[in-house]
């Protein structure tokens, strides 16, 4: 940072105690991906660009509409109908021509997500739907990327920092440790349905940008294993603590191949509420003579099950073979509990009866971990 303009541009933060040239250089060398250029994305992009982040990727497939303008403050009335990424980048370039801005005018999905996030140091979730939030969380866990999360509703916001390397080099908690599975569709209203105060994503997104800057520069306390809630009506900030859990980690695809197979748009807890049973209940039901276990994984999939008897019917073949099971209680199992949920839903639908179909929550991975822990006396 020898250039005189550079020095002057960032002078007010460089002179801060504990900041200095090293922190500014860290920002100048950082690559940050901001997913969503809406209510949260606008302040995040503005403050990160102004702060001198070296490279920012901007992801959004939407165009600007009139109802965006009360909160998406990068855009003005002349921008209606134009792509958010294009307009955001034009305005951000004027703000700070030294920041490299990369446009992704696309919707993030299983097929492009891992590739895109792998090119960045920190990922910022400014999206507006659960499917994207869960997908981004899982992708960040698989790729080992820190994720700065925020979400808003009405007059309230939430902020958290997920999946950074902790003291013992293990990764800290992630979104699924807070909320293991997606709410069912319609269970939680989005901004379009529930409304949002314009300034709320401004405040919440600024908090999010602050966490990004602290992560990059190493200054201050981060919201690691913590969920910050902000209430604009009561002027109330509360920080809640949470722990990582084995049960919730089992919902994350085990590898990139499994990630590609996930159906985030349709993954929801509607099935879990009706069919899910935990390891304890599973063990209890195993002892009952009218209970049958069906593994819906493909034959080659790990981990192998040797602890109890089961029948293997891969999910794709399930519909054809369901009529063999007309009376008994069926517990479906799979690796992490996602396919078994689908299986239970398919069976319940087939027989128009949901009372005798169950799904092992967290799958065989979580079940084995729990038994190992019990065996070790933890």
């Amino acid at each position: 940072m020898e250039d005189k303009n550079l020095h002057e541009r960032y002078q007010r933060q460089v002179i801060l105690k504990g900041f200095g040239a090293p922190a500014q250089n860290a920002l100048l060398n950082a690559k940050v991906l901001v997913i969503g250029a809406g209510g949260l994305g606008c302040p995040v992009l503005q403050y990160l660009t102004a702060a001198g982040i070296g490279c920012i990727g901007v992801v959004d497939d939407d165009v600007i509409s009139l109802s965006n303008l009360h909160r998406q403050v990068l855009f003005d009335s002349n921008d209606i109908g134009k792509p958010k990424t294009r307009v955001a980048i034009i305005k951000l370039r004027m703000m700070n021509p030294d920041t490299k801005l990369v446009e992704y005018q696309i919707r993030l999905d299983n097929n492009n997500c891992l590739d895109i996030i792998s090119g960045y140091d920190i990922i910022v979730d400014c999206t507006d739907n659960f499917a994207s939030r869960y997908m981004i969380n899982d992708a960040c866990v698989l790729k080992g990327k820190p994720l700065v999360y925020a979400a808003v509703s009405g007059f309230e916001g939430q902020v958290a920092v997920f999946n950074v390397v902790g003291k013992g080099k293990e990764r800290t908690g992630n979104y699924r440790d807070l909320f293991p599975v997606q709410p069912k569709k319609g269970e939680v209203l989005n901004c379009a349905e529930a409304g949002v105060l314009g300034v709320l994503p401004g405040i919440t997104g600024s908090l999010q940008a602050n966490e990004v800057i602290k992560l990059i520069t190493g200054i201050g306390a981060k919201l690691v294993n913590q969920l910050l809630t902000y209430n604009a009506i009561h002027n109330q900030f509360i920080v809640y603590e949470y722990n990582s859990s084995i049960q919730s980690s089992a919902f994350i695809p085990a590898n990139e191949t499994d990630f590609l197979k996930m159906n985030y748009e349709n993954e929801c807890t509607a099935y879990i509420d009706h069919f899910g049973i935990n390891a304890e209940k599973f063990d209890e039901m195993l002892l009952q003579s009218n209970t049958k276990v069906i593994d819906v994984r493909e034959p080659h999939e790990l981990p192998f099950v040797t602890e109890f008897e089961f029948t293997r019917i891969p999910l794709e073949e399930l519909k054809r073979k369901l009529n063999e099971f007309t009376k008994e209680n069926i517990i479906f199992i799979c690796q992490t509990g996602v396919r078994s949920m689908q299986a239970a839903a398919i069976a319940a639908d087939h027989f128009d009866n949901s009372s005798r179909f169950f799904s092992l929550q967290g799958g065989i991975v979580a079940w084995k971990k729990i038994h190992e822990m019990n065996h070790n006396g933890n």
Binding site: A151, N190, T229, N243
Partner: protein, 75 residues
């Protein structure tokens, strides 16, 4: 015991603080909530006791600060 309500759960309760008596643990709390506000059965939320998000059956002492936190999707 006063319970703090967050997000759209407030639309069910009508207020950001509700009172539930003789709460001993989270299981009792959830049961009491479902009885008082049946629509809670349709909602996802986590329980925080003294600013710690808890999972499984957790004891709640009389002086504890309890909150119900739902996920938000908006951005």
């Amino acid at each position: 015991m006063n319970i703090m309500i967050f997000g759209q759960l407030e639309e069910i309760t009508g207020t950001s603080v509700i009172a539930i008596n003789r709460v001993t643990d989270t299981e009792f709390l959830i049961k009491a909530l479902y009885e008082k506000f049946p629509l809670f059965k349709e909602k996802m939320f986590v329980v925080a006791v003294d600013k710690k998000i808890v999972t499984g059956k957790t004891q709640i002492v009389e002086q504890a600060k309890v909150a119900l936190l739902p996920p938000f999707s908006g951005g």
